[in-house]
Amino acid sequence: MPDPREDRLQLQADVLVIGGGPAAAWAAWAAASKGQRTVLVDKGYMGASGACAASGNSLLNPPPKDREAILKARHRTGQYLGDLRWMDRIFEATWRSLPLVEAWGYQFPQVDGESARESFWGPEYLKVLRKALLKAGVQVLDHSPALQLLLDADGAVAGAQGLQRQAGGRAWQVKAKAVVLAAGGAAWLSKVLGCNTNTGDALLMAAEAGGELLGMEFSSQYAISSALNATVTRGVPFAWASYSDEAGRPLTGKDGGRFGTPELAAALLKGPVYAQLDKASHQVRQVIESSHFITFYPLEKAGIDPYGQRFPVTLVAEGTVRGTGGIRLTDDECATGIPGLYAAGDSAQRVLLGGASSAGGGPSAAWCIASGQWAGGGAAEYARSLSEASFDRPVRQAGRAGLTAEAGHAGSFDPDDVVRRLQAEVLPYDKNLFRHEEGLKASIRAVDGLWQELKGVPAVNGHRGVLRAREAAALTATARWMFRSALERRESRGMHIRTDFPATDPAQRVHLISGGLDQPWVRREPVLDAEPAGVGR
């Protein structure tokens, strides 16, 4: 077999974008439209990979006159860890950008002769974005996962390396003046719809370059799904559900209130839970079936009538994808603090948008449009400041864990086995949804142990194994920052539930920054704006 390094694909780009969802697309478009040679590398097929491509998505796009009230309400939901200035600029940028999507060929529904720009059909939206990128001259490399960043002697990011999994694992190297990380969040390979490509790769690559994370404790988002097809987590149809236990006894929230995620998780820890969409009127059925047919598609395939029959439900972990933790941003252009490195979409922290609560689909769709353009624009400006001679900079490979064995480390590891044991810590509700000190410490010990194993030799065959080993390292690193941040936040706030500290503590209205590889750390950082009146119940 020829050495894949022999015929390595070598490219130069002003801006390299890593990822293939909407944020990556908007970043690449922004860089290319500023006249920069732009290359986009995606793990899968740019157009089909990631959280957005796999379903219908709502899009929060309030008219400017309604914006302030909506943002204030969101700030409250996020338990005041968000940032109103950022929220305002996100929705302003989105409002201004959407006509462009239409010009590229996306058709929004028409209401009284006006476009209702309030939702996207993921597959169609991504198809339109792909066409726009190719037209703008972006070079797109599909099935070309990035494995590690390249750094220059000063620690600035100078490109990346990876492999082409549909070209026999051929290596690629792109030397770049600037890099945008937009490769999604980390969803623990739980098979939650479209998210198995989102394995925290960008978070690990950023940390290896010296970048930091923010809000990693807010990565415990779980969403309801039919248990028969625990992939589709679109919650809207469940607004018309009633719930019952194995014996058929009705289940409700406290005092007959809402049966939300914590109530469902608690019930699931006791036994099976069933849902029936019996509150949906005939008309509601038509709407939810059309707008969320992806929810009904698996039920139909399984021969279940969700209105007339009870069906078992479960909660699926969505990790940081619907959580808000991610790479820390240091300025309005989505810089990361590392020269030449920018972050967008779910790879970046979205605490500024969603605070301690899930930013959800609608706001996240807006975030990808805004952060993508800022990161791509920022990367383009940075690239302009460098000369062509920067392509001749000596570079070193930044990747370690999961890629190459550490000197003197004799052991080997099976990446699929590491992922299974990692999932045993990050998926269970009684470990990661209901958190407490003792459990978090045990999980930290477990994932730290996995990190040590990842320093060994990956026992893998072929390029699938090489990629999976690196994914196992990225997921494990993400879990280490998550559990440490969760241990540090000694209160309950938003999705972060501590059974040993059930109340929200006004004194802990702070951000938790984390980072580090062999020695992970967490530090507190004050939230800058004044505490809004009425907080600190």
């Binding site: 097929y45 796999a54 058709q107 529904p109 719809l193 625990a230 059309s290 707008s291 598609y297």
Partner: protein, 112 residues
């Protein structure tokens, strides 16, 4: 997970090979692609959406194998259903689907 690549329908265009985000298929020259890494299938249904001849079936079960029968699936109208819903099937248009949906929403007056 992916349970059927219909050899009678497949035209060997390899679109499924190209679009699958998890790289589950392997191309076979002059024949239908094979499902080479089924365990990597994340059950996202996108191969079905892109298949121009409705030759694929992804079962709802994401973690276990299920038996399917092509004739039964055809009789139930389940082959190509996602593509039809998306408005990607021949003779349909995504915007018609979206307008239809929007009219329904207006009638119900429900926030989505």
């Amino acid at each position: 997970m992916i349970e059927l690549v219909s050899e009678s329908r497949c035209i060997s265009c390899d679109k499924c090979v190209k679009v699958c985000p998890s790289n589950v298929f392997d191309s076979v020259p002059g024949a239908a692609p094979i499902v080479a890494r089924k365990e990597d299938c994340q059950t996202c249904f996108l191969c079905e959406a892109y298949c121009p001849v409705d030759a694929l079936f992804v079962a709802a079960e994401a973690h276990e194998d299920v038996q399917v029968d092509e004739a039964t699936l055809i009789a139930q109208g389940l082959l190509g259903q996602y593509r039809r819903n998306l408005g990607w099937a021949k003779g349909s248009n995504p915007i018609e689907k979206l307008n239809e949906l929007n009219e329904l929403r207006e009638r119900v007056g429900s926030p989505f």
